[in-house]
């Protein structure tokens, strides 16, 4: 498969990455190389092979349900661009 320029622009939009038309063309080439690699892998017969969701064959470690974190709001908010009344302020977003 080969990506169109529109598809590249759309992926960039979804990832909130700004790319110029020139960069889009270069990115398209790079992404297409990746897809070629994937195509090569997809050619392998994987019938009967269980899909892998993680590179390590281990089970998820679980922790006991206990509140162990202290309130460190002051430290976190000291590095935030803007805060008020304990809230992080961001450019207005309304759906």
């Amino acid at each position: 498969m080969s990506l169109s320029l529109e598809q590249v622009q759309r992926i960039a939009l979804l990832a909130r990455i700004e790319i110029s038309p020139l960069e889009a063309e270069a990115t398209r080439g790079q992404l297409n190389h990746i897809f070629e690699l994937i195509e090569e892998m997809q050619a392998v017969d994987t019938k009967g092979v269980e899909p892998m969701s993680h590179a390590q064959d281990l089970a998820l470690r679980l922790r006991e349900d206990a509140a162990t974190e202290e309130n460190r709001r002051a430290a976190f908010q000291a590095v935030a661009p803007e805060v008020e009344a304990g809230l992080y302020l961001v450019p207005k977003v309304i759906e």
Binding site: L14, L60, R63, A67, N71, F76, V93
Partner: protein, 483 residues
Amino acid sequence: MQWEVVIGLETHAQLNTVSKIFSGAATAFGAEPNVQACAVDIALPGVLPVMNKGAVARAIRFGLAVGATVAPRSVFARKNYFYPDLPKGYQISQFELPVVVGGSVTIQVGQGEAAYEKTVNLTRAHLEEDAGKSLHEDFHGKSGIDLNRAGTPLLEIVTEPEMRSAAEAVAYAKALHSLVRWIDICDGNMQEGSFRCDANVSVRPKGQAEFGTRAEIKNLNSFRFLEEAINYEVRRQIELIEDGGKVVQETRLYDPDRKETRSMRSKEDAHDYRYFPDPDLLPLVISADWIEAVKGDMPELPQAMRSRFQEEYALSAYDASTLTSSLEMARYFEAAAAAAGKANAKLCANWIMGDLSARLNRDGKDIAESPVGAAQLAGLVARIGDSTISNAIGKKVFEALWNGEGQSADAVIEAQGLKQITDTGAIEKIIDEVLCANQKSVEEFRSGKEKAFNSLVGQCMKATKGKANPQQVNDLLRKKLAG
């Protein structure tokens, strides 16, 4: 044209763990903004999620309660979208391999003659994290973000599109709400957002096999809004199609003030979530032993308890269903019935569903915090059962117990002299006095007016302050008037 409504529900039940799903921050409701948002919740670079065992245990409980398959192996995935109350830029959820697969919830729809039972099949239930909250007002043109809720564990419970009316959807939501509280995995507080529904609604001509295009109504946090929103949406879609229009697949919000659903102006790629397995989390493995251990710890489920109540206490389906609407009420009933004796079980049921529920309602109290305990109510019911007091006097005793004017029904009856008069001689004496003072009624009765009889009974009861046995008064009075 005859239309058929098709509804599927997605419910987010907030799991009542003390800490978050992937961090050790507290989950208590109502804290000051951002004091319960740790480095993991606000997504500082380099942090890693660590799964909360309590959240998994609750998912297993749910799976067992609905007769589903608890997956021996399930996988967490990233659901990617950008919004300021989701600081990672993705929500950790489950996609291809959820923790709970299948299962069903049985619902009772309607009342009386038209009532029917229906089984709603579940597609799946999966674990995920909640997002934070955005506050849009009053920050000089900016939005304020509170991340206390970010990372709170949710179980998203998804049904098959099997409901055919708003009434069925509400019955399902209520049954599910009762169930998650029953098995103690969610506090069910809808005002605080602990239990919220999204409704997928579509319509199709009756008899058509394919589904129509659906609209998803988001974040319905009351049963009334759920019902109103679905009914509005159904009308809107039918009118739209009948006017030659087409339903667009979209997300809508319900406005309870204007009683209508409105399209959320979202971009078309808002739903391109690009799920992929989260490399930070290994597969969740649940052993058969763990499932067995959780099974051993499960309370008797409402369905089973309903049948048992009908059999063991000879209650009607309606009574059994009302008494098992919450585990607290069911336990209260069983404690009362055990203390008052099985012969008084129906009387206990009547008192719990009648006077007690009404009084609790009036004071906005839960049955678990009732001032009249199960043992006290049983004592009262036992005295009505053995005719020490009448039902009417029972109400007086109940009120006294409610107000703490006595430790037991017996103590109140004794202190206030409420014991029923059953001595025939004493009652006859009172009747004689009443007959003497009410000659007019006596004549009216003798001339055939049955109403006059009731008035005389009333006078006798009044003269004994309600303490005479009404049946006895009836019998003796009739005898006297005949003689």
